[in-house]
């Protein structure tokens, strides 16, 4: 029986005073989240604010140390996801919990197949899935292999699965991270339709735009605590941002217009294949000039990884040329590239950017160890390196007890700052920045963005590759759209809408004057 609070509507989810501690950290330090039935409720907070922990607590994956949870008015103590699903909760994961080799139907029914151990009525299951998809207007082919579907469609399969399992309250964890703007709009329509059908939706995000676009109410959490709940239509982006960060924030990057100079990094007609031998780059050309930030946007998996690896010397191009400052550097090894004046901020700081168990000093040595002032005649100069690390830490605001601290002990933001310090110390001519703010909090993002703009103003070329369209729009002086291994659009900053970029990223749209490489 759904219980009614004294004056409000029936509640779908009540979480009160949730505390969850991990060794050394308090992830949830007292969170209240009250979600009414039939609303779209945004849960807003920065990376590391405790959103995911809270949802794992709600879903029975973690057990709270303190606090009370009620679902549909009933007090609950879930021992696992199975219980949560049984109580009518459904989770749409940020990294889909789907099996690429299975069909849509197999993915949807897994775990609730509705047959006995040694039977499986595939046809009946396919019919049920097709009917359900029809009823909710979720167009998807039940026979299709999941791995063949675009990301937006895969997400629909996750939603469909939750509905199949009988979910009345749907939790979406950062659901727009991998979608094109058009797919985001389609998702919004689906969510609104579900709400009209009486469903409840909890929408986890760190993007203010999304809160405004889709939610009825929003709860903001910061450092593991609820700092406020607002009716979306009665609040402003500025208020929410301040609640989220805990101080005043500048929502836009302040930067003077660019004054691009001569070309510094040129790629011509690059062709390369991906891990599975598929064509990843199909004749990609671009020119990066001094004094500009050139942004490359596109949906993940359209050749970004291959382009980055070729430019960074980690993969060989099958065809094409790369030229740095007029010198051919095609398929040259990373060491020679660094000497030639290219620095690289990798996407994955744990696997590519740092050796986590090395000290900060040792990490600063990476890629620099055989050059003065770090070493002389093959012997590393420990004192100089340590002093240099110390000064880089001060200059780039890397907060750590000492240069001897292992990199693992630092927060993501400080790790990223260390990488940037190391790379910029070389005073490169061209800087390759791949997803430079992924997973960082607002403060660190501000810092990184400021550094990139500063590099640009000092006459360096910055090539920014990011899946975050806002980051591309905020920082780039010029924007290229990457689709299926080619540049399919080129725009000057401020002369293009999100919609236009989104269409291009999805391989559609485009007018004649956009530069289309063929």
């Amino acid at each position: 029986m759904a219980e009614r609070s004294a004056d409000g509507p029936a509640l779908a989810v009540e979480m009160r005073g949730i505390i969850k501690r991990f060794p050394g950290v308090v992830a949830n330090a007292g969170i209240d989240l009250i979600v009414a039935k039939g609303e779209i409720h945004a849960l807003l907070g920065e990376n590391g604010a405790g959103k995911s922990t809270l949802m794992n607590v709600l879903f029975g994956i973690y057990h709270p140390d303190e606090g009370e949870i009620r679902v549909d008015g009933r007090g609950t103590r879930f021992t696992g996801p199975r219980d949560a699903v049984g109580a009518g909760l459904g989770m749409v994961h940020q990294h889909f919990m789907l099996i690429p080799r299975f069909t849509v139907t197999e993915n949807v029914i897994l775990g609730s197949e509705g047959s006995s151990t040694f039977r499986l009525d595939r046809q009946a299951a396919e019919r049920r899935v097709a009917d359900l998809a029809e009823a909710y207007g979720l167009r998807v082919d039940p026979h299709a292999r999941l791995g063949d579907l675009p990301v937006g469609m895969q997400q629909r399969v996750e939603i469909l699965r939750a509905l199949y399992q009988g979910s009345r309250t749907l939790i979406l964890d950062e659901p727009t991270a991998l979608l094109t703007p058009q797919e985001v709009d389609e998702l919004y329509r689906i969510l609104q339709r579900l709400r009209e059908g009486g469903g409840t939706i909890i929408f986890i995000t760190h993007k203010l735009r999304e809160v405004a676009a889709i939610s009825d109410r929003v709860t903001v959490i910061r450092r593991g605590r609820t700092v406020g709940t607002r009716v979306t239509s009665e609040t402003t982006a500025t208020e929410l941002a301040e609640l989220m960060v805990g101080r005043e924030v500048v929502l836009r990057v302040d930067r003077p217009p660019a004054t691009p100079g001569e070309p510094v990094l040129v790629a011509e007609d690059l062709v390369a294949s991906g891990i599975r031998g598929e064509a990843a780059l199909r004749g990609l050309s671009l020119t990066l000039r001094r004094g500009e930030i050139l942004g490359i946007c596109g949906v993940e998996g359209n050749g970004q990884a291959e382009l980055v690896e070729i430019l960074a010397g980690l993969r060989k191009a099958d065809k094409g040329r790369v030229i740095l400052k007029g010198q051919p550097i095609t398929n040259v090894d990373p060491k020679a590239l660094r000497r030639a004046g290219l620095s690289y901020i990798p996407e994955d700081r744990h696997n590519r950017g740092l050796v986590l168990d090395f000290s900060l000093t040792e990490n600063v040595l990476l890629g620099n160890a055989d050059e003065p002032p770090f070493s002389h005649g093959g012997r590393i100069d420990g004192d100089t390196t340590q002093a240099l690390t110390q000064s880089l830490m001060e200059q780039f605001d890397v907060r750590a007890p000492s240069p001897a601290t292992p990199a693992r002990a630092l927060s993501g933001g400080n790790q990223q700052k260390l990488i940037i310090a190391r790379e910029l110390h070389r005073q490169p001519d061209a800087l390759l920045a791949v997803q430079p703010t992924r997973g960082l909090d607002v403060g660190a993002i501000e810092f990184v963005h400021k550094q990139l703009v500063q590099e640009r103003d000092q006459g360096r070329g910055v090539l920014l590759i990011s899946f975050d369209l806002d980051e591309i729009l905020d920082l780039s002086d010029r924007i290229l759209v990457l689709f299926q291994g080619r540049i399919v659009g080129e725009y000057l900053s401020g002369h293009v809408s999100r919609t236009e970029l989104g269409l291009r990223m999805g391989g559609r749209g485009g007018d004649e004057h956009a530069a289309v490489a063929d």
Partner: protein, 293 residues
């Protein structure tokens, strides 16, 4: 002469493939559920020895078969416990079991029979003609059974899910550990039958090292067959035929180097693993542990 030769080659192929089929189907199940299984060789040795010893003490080969199967299954419990419950490295566990599988029979031969080379002669499983024992048809019937289990039952769907993406499977309430245990135990039992086939089906005694790498060849057949039961059967037949060709060539005194013929099955295995592995797509979650807190 030529007809006789063909028939002889064919029955020899069946005879030599059958133990590979048992081990390969076991390995396939284990790997499909996400647990790497290089321990097939060890399971086969344990099965072969225990079946011979069991037959020696009971005088009844069918009881011996049961004992061999059970003993290999017991060994596979160790593999499962290490790989699933303790979340240890599956290659290390497999290596340890292969060493155990080689060492324990040799040790027990000393203690029980006071010999070093092999058990005394024991009774054999009955034959069905053509020098083939009763386990041969069972081996080939096993293939459609495994195929049906994997692709047409709920259990099969969940086994595949455990092997492809254990986290996803757990998120919808599939007990990944349970399915993995069942599959690893099945692999132990089946490899054990394959071992018993050698000691009390094909021969009538256990000799040290009698599996001669068949567990590894079976594993190669699984990879060669791209983790598909029917294709894996094809691969075991190919390996079996290679062994049969050697036997026949020896019998006919063909002018081919003996050494080359002896090496043929192993060469094929190497080629399968190095040359064709690139085109194979193993279960995506092979060797990955489940997420349970």
């Amino acid at each position: 002469m030529s007809d006789f030769f063909t028939i002889a080659l064919l029955t020899a192929t069946l005879r030599l493939s059958a133990p590979l089929v048992f081990a390969a189907m076991g390995g396939l199940l284990s790997e499909r559920s996400g647990v790497m299984n290089i321990a097939l060789e060890g399971f086969m040795l344990v099965g072969a020895f225990s079946a011979a010893a069991g037959t020696y003490y009971t005088g009844r080969p069918f009881l011996g078969l049961l004992i061999g199967t059970g003993a290999a299954m017991l060994a596979s419990v160790i593999h499962a416990f290490w790989s699933i419950t303790l979340r240890g490295d599956q290659i290390v566990a497999g290596t340890a079991l292969n060493l155990l599988g080689a060492g324990i029979p040799a040790f027990l031969l000393q203690r029980l029979f006071e010999t070093a080379g092999g058990t005394p002669a024991v009774a054999r499983l009955p034959t069905i003609g053509g020098g083939l024992n009763v386990l041969v048809p069972v081996a080939f019937l096993l293939v459609p059974l495994v195929h049906y289990l994997l692709f047409h039952t709920r259990a099969g769907l969940r086994i595949q899910a455990a092997g492809e993406h254990p986290h996803a499977a757990e998120s919808v309430g599939v007990d990944v550990a349970r399915y993995r245990y069942a599959c690893v135990l099945a692999s132990g039992a089946l490899a054990g039958v394959g071992g018993a086939y050698l000691s009390i089906g094909d021969l009538s005694q256990f000799t040290v090292g009698m599996t001669a790498g068949r567990g590894f060849i079976a594993l190669a057949a699984v990879i060669f067959g791209n983790w598909n039961p029917v294709a894996t059967l094809g691969a075991t037949l190919l390996f079996g035929a290679a062994q049969a060709a050697r036997v026949q060539a020896q019998a006919l005194n063909l002018p081919i180097s003996q050494d080359l013929l002896i090496a043929l099955p192993y060469l094929l295995t190497l080629i399968a693993i190095t040359g064709l592995v690139r085109h194979a797509t193993p279960p995506a979650g092979l060797g990955r542990h489940a997420a349970t807190e």
